[in-house]
Symmetry: C2
Subunit: 361 residues, 2 copies
């Protein structure tokens, strides 16, 4: 993996050199990351980027500084890959918060300048920033029927107590390897407090699965981990969130990617993952007191109506669920299941829906 | 631990019963959690609560509902302790989002009603909500020279890879036990990205320590864990944050507790912990380019001036540092050290300051 990054980063430099030697205007081609260059690809089931590219040129007064920044980011990235050292995107920013020789300007003054350049390099070379040894904040935990290797240490996720393994912000296969599993599927849980409840009941043992949480919208690392486990372990992924537009959107991001990070979809998407709930239709099916459902806010309604229009929410099951939510004017949080008993989620709700394959696509 | 909670919760009920039998107005005495009942105790070095109490009475029209809520929270807590099951404070809210018989009102309608009642029970009985099997969100990771037992699983924190052990939201000694260590101290790191950098370099091995991060302001569980390790393992705690008023405050919260949660201080405070940095005086000592220091914002200055006045910031070293920061008008982030090289923090900064015991108190 890092070998491939090294090759691609090196080639970027060589290409520029070649252009210089040929007396060309040195340029880097960068696919455009804007909404109009993003499309939903029905065939792959992913939100993907289109074909539009920009040419960032050295001899162009409005490109020159960004051209330099791009090459410097690539230079630092290559050093990191060679050194086998990982730093945060904030570290990278500070590494390049240095004066441009002969001027009073810095290469970067703010991190919101360096972050987009990192993404430029990602799309230009089709490598993840994690493959260039750059990382952001870590979040999330994992337990279940899986033995991994992490940085040379063998970790048995069946013996990780109440806390679990803390998911690092970089989960590429040079560091994280999957060793052994007899799990039947992977369960992604939106809320860490719910995950802790499920882990206390050892639900992953009863259901024979691997169980992770991302604390709300999953990070890139968690999406990458789900993608890798889906493909390398050949296990289905099941998503468990609140019954509200934000929960549904978490599922859709895991499944087909997001508009903002469309360039990642191929490396992090899980187009065949399934949604186990909550749905507002569970209220009736599981005889849940309306007392613990919450009314939709104006923001919820607005977001629900946006979801209804996204091409990747056109499947009839989703149109049905979102319309049901709007009509009933109710949403339901994962924790609301506690009203039926502390262990209702572990002993009844999840086993029933998973056994009966009551999923939304 | 949970045995003690059970006893105290049971006694609360028995006391009420006794008052009823004696034809008294049933009442619960609750220490007052307001700023005017909070003081800095020079002897213990902790922010503690004063002696003021309120009497929550059943036969008092403005107390009756809260009286009922308090008893119901205690009732659910006792069931959790008996069942050896833990739920989140949001689960508890949903468990009690139920109608009051004979009325159209619910026991609780919003979680911001049930959370303060939980705190009332905590202070009234002097037990943590975690000891009543209630938890909030989990965050943070730990690695280093320590073997623990977590929920019956033995976990060797020297073999937890790049991710580490994910710290659960409840770390009481019925579940988390410390088994074996030859560490010399405990290092608490503000930012998870910095912790990942340090863990990649296996700094905890070189410095012979236990290393944890809380991702910013540490949670109750992390503070409790630090407190327990300080006392049960008899190891000093060293805090490593940004050089800014927010970093200094993180240290002060770990050390002497916070105003809002003063009632916790005795069970989570680490009054003899030390601050290793960053300080703004490091700029000169380690020849760090001013280029990577940031100017103080108006908010930073306001907060710094507040800190200067807190009784627990009166030590001359802190007055000196904060005044130095204000005078130089600069702050410094942990990641800024990367400007001196990726491994500067691991190989130079921390080893030098820790070896030379260059701490602020």
């Amino acid at each position: 993996m890092s070998h491939e990054s090294d090759k691609k980063l090196k080639k970027l430099g060589q290409d520029i050199l070649k252009q210089l030697k040929n007396n060309e205007n040195p340029a880097i081609e960068i696919p455009i990351r804007s909404l109009k260059n993003v499309k939903f690809d029905n065939e792959t089931g992913l939100i993907s980027m289109g074909e539009e590219k920009l040419k960032r040129q050295f001899f162009n007064i409005s490109h020159a500084k960004k051209f330099m920044q791009t090459l410097l980011v690539a230079k630092v990235a290559r050093e990191l890959v060679k050194e086998k050292a990982t730093v945060s995107i904030r570290d990278l920013f500070y590494t390049l918060k240095i004066p441009i020789p002969g001027t009073k300007e810095n290469v970067f003054d703010y991190q919101n300048e360096s972050d987009p350049i990192i993404e430029d390099v990602e799309v230009a070379l089709n490598i993840l920033r994690e493959e260039m040894n750059l990382r952001a904040d870590k979040k999330g935990s994992m337990v279940g029927d899986l033995v991994i290797e992490d940085g040379g240490d063998k970790i048995d996720l069946r013996k990780q107590g109440t806390g679990g393994w803390s998911i690092p912000s970089k989960v590429e296969d040079d560091v994280i390897k999957f060793k052994e599993t007899s799990a039947k599927f992977i369960l992604f849980v939106e809320k860490s407090a719910v995950w802790e409840r499920l882990n206390e009941d050892k639900v992953w043992k009863n259901l024979n699965c691997i169980m992770l949480t991302g604390k709300g919208q999953p990070s890139r690392a968690i999406r990458r981990l789900l993608h890798r486990m889906r493909n390398e372990l050949n296990l289905p992924v099941i998503v468990f969130t609140d019954a509200d537009p934000w929960g549904y959107y978490i599922h859709s991001v895991v499944k087909q990617g997001s508009i903002n990070l469309a360039f990642l979809s191929q490396k992090v998407g899980v187009p065949d993952c399934k949604f186990v709930g909550l749905t507002t239709q569970d209220l009736k099916e599981f005889d849940i007191s309306k007392n613990v459902a919450l009314e939709l806010t104006e923001q919820d309604k607005k977001r629900a109506n946006e979801l209804l229009k996204y091409p990747w929410f056109q499947k009839k099951e989703w149109q049905q669920e979102i319309n049901h939510m709007l009509k009933s004017n109710l949403k339901l949080e994962q924790e609301a299941l506690s009203n039926k008993g502390i262990r209702f989620v572990s002993n009844t709700y999840l086993p029933t829906k998973i056994r009966n394959k009551e999923f939304l696509p």
